[in-house]
């Protein structure tokens, strides 16, 4: 049922985890239960749900990191990136080396990362620290570097898990603005967030996931209103 506008379609997708209790006994936990929806090219789709509802698993299915146990996923794009801060960071290496590697792992070619490296370094405000091993960084500095790499990278479909902003004060505001700017562009984005005001600001549609099932998908206000009622009742 592909229409040209869809970048990805999920059809009755289920994922269940197996965990070992003793040598022969296993228990199963259903993380995603017959999930069906599609992502439209250019849109920003928000995902809401309480902790453990399957949001992170869903993002990993979309990124083709996790296999599925039933159903079907159709991709109509070549590149999907799960935006992860500090991806593949090695404490012994300099900030610059880590930025290059991290950018490449997020889907960019080496030449492209090198083109953008000055931009990344400048955004991170790390100055000369960028040449020091990141084991000497504070948590905040590390997060700033990770964020600067992530916000500079591009992908056909960007999956973002709770990384809207980092740091404090001035950098936090700058980071938030950069991320909102990125999300509001033509970029197709799937965004997981607990911040409902943030979601209503940037999303075109919202999907509500509960216990691995899609409860609702549609217009932002409608879904968020129902979700808020649900949260109050709990």
């Amino acid at each position: 049922m592909n229409t040209a506008a869809n970048i990805m379609e999920l059809d009755h997708v289920s994922v269940r985890y197996k965990s070992r209790r003793s040598f022969f006994r296993h228990t199963y936990f259903t993380a995603l239960d017959e999930v069906s929806f599609s992502i439209i090219k250019g849109e920003t789709l928000g995902i809401v749900g309480t902790n453990g509802c399957g949001k992170s698993t869903l993002l990993r299915v979309l990124a083709n990191i996790y296999g599925i146990d039933a159903g079907q996923v159709n991709w109509y794009c070549r590149q999907v990136s799960l935006l992860t801060l500090a991806l593949g960071f090695d404490p012994e290496l300099s900030g610059r080396d880590n930025a290059i590697l991290s950018g490449m792992l997020l889907g960019a070619r080496k030449a492209d990362v090198l083109d953008k490296i000055d931009e990344i370094i400048e955004f991170s405000e790390l100055k000369d620290f960028i040449y020091k091993p990141i084991k000497t960084y504070s948590t905040g500095m590390r997060a700033r570097l990770g964020f600067s790499v992530a916000v500079t990278m591009q992908s056909e479909l960007l999956l973002i898990d709770e990384v809207m902003s980092v740091g404090d004060g001035k950098f936090k505001r700058k980071a938030e603005a950069a991320m909102v700017n990125k999300i509001s562009s033509d970029q197709t984005v799937v965004l997981v967030s607990h911040s409902l005001p943030q979601l209503s600001k940037v999303c075109d549609r919202v999907l509500w996931l509960n216990e691995g099932k899609v409860i609702m998908i549609g217009a932002v206000d409608e879904v968020l209103q129902e979700y808020e009622c649900f949260l109050e009742k709990r």
Partner: protein, 258 residues
């Protein structure tokens, strides 16, 4: 699926270079350890067997080096790669990439270090006064055969350990058994009855060690049939493991996340 082959190779090369750089920066003597560790191992064996047990023979130090140094390469790569997929958890759970990336990274990292060790080994042999001849060039084929074997076994053990974490204890024991069973500090020709010698040489590591000695100590061509058989066997195993990983790639991400 989401990363092109060229991109993957680029990431592999960059990660390889950076891993080596990172490894070096962790110790005071950095690069020196790559040589110091095998040198210490060989020295210990030499002292124990040549001096304490009086098992010496002509060129015993060369004999030990031809056995211990290739063996160290094999055992280190295999033990290191057994844990590689589990330790790659951080990346496997965040990026869609082929799982064999991780054991192969370990194999190439070790192979790079080993090539430097081999280089120093040749120089040592020349300084020691071994007779150099054109036959020595054939060692390239022995080394390449061992590289294929290391790739094949590393892929195999790396695939098993995430399913059976206890397997890594077995590997340690297997490596110890292999050390005693590969003729590192004894000559199988002197120790074993002729009817057991063929059986002994079915162990590919023992067979390779025999070939290292044949080239360096006897100035003779390696056993080409044995090298070809080991290479073909290894290539077959690599092909099987590649197919296996292609079919199970996304299984591993979930397996190590649980």
């Amino acid at each position: 699926m989401f990363i092109s082959k060229a991109h993957l190779i680029e990431v592999f090369g960059t990660k390889l270079a950076l891993n080596l750089k990172s490894e070096v920066s962790k110790t005071y003597l950095s690069y020196v350890w790559w040589l110091l560790e095998p040198a210490l191992m060989v020295t210990v064996l030499y002292i124990v067997f040549a001096m304490f047990l009086s098992k010496s023979r002509p060129d015993f130090i060369v004999f030990i080096m031809c056995g211990k140094i290739p063996f160290l390469w094999f055992s280190k790569s295999v033990s290191n790669s057994s844990n590689s997929i589990t330790s790659g958890r951080g990346l496997i759970n965040q990026v869609s990439m082929p799982v064999p990336f991780f054991p192969m990274l370990v194999v190439f990292q070790d192979a790079f270090k080993q090539s430097i060790v081999f280089l120093f080994m040749f120089v040592f042999f020349i300084i020691y006064g071994m007779e150099v001849s054109w036959v020595w060039l054939s060692i390239i084929f022995v080394i390449f055969t061992q590289f294929l074997l290391v790739c094949a076994i590393s892929l195999l053990v790396s695939a098993i350990t995430p399913f059976l974490p206890d397997f890594k204890y077995l590997i340690a024991t297997a490596m110890l058994a292999l050390m005693f069973g590969s003729g590192i500090f004894y000559s199988y020709k002197e120790l074993l009855q002729p009817r057991y010698q063929e059986l002994f040489l079915l162990n590919p590591v023992a067979n390779l060690i025999k070939n290292y000695r044949q080239v360096f100590m006897d100035n003779a061509q390696p056993d080409w049939i044995a090298l070809t058989s080991i290479s073909l066997g290894s290539i077959l195993l690599i092909a099987v493991m590649t197919l296996y990983f292609r079919r199970t790639n996304t299984v591993y991400a979930r397996l190590i996340a649980q």
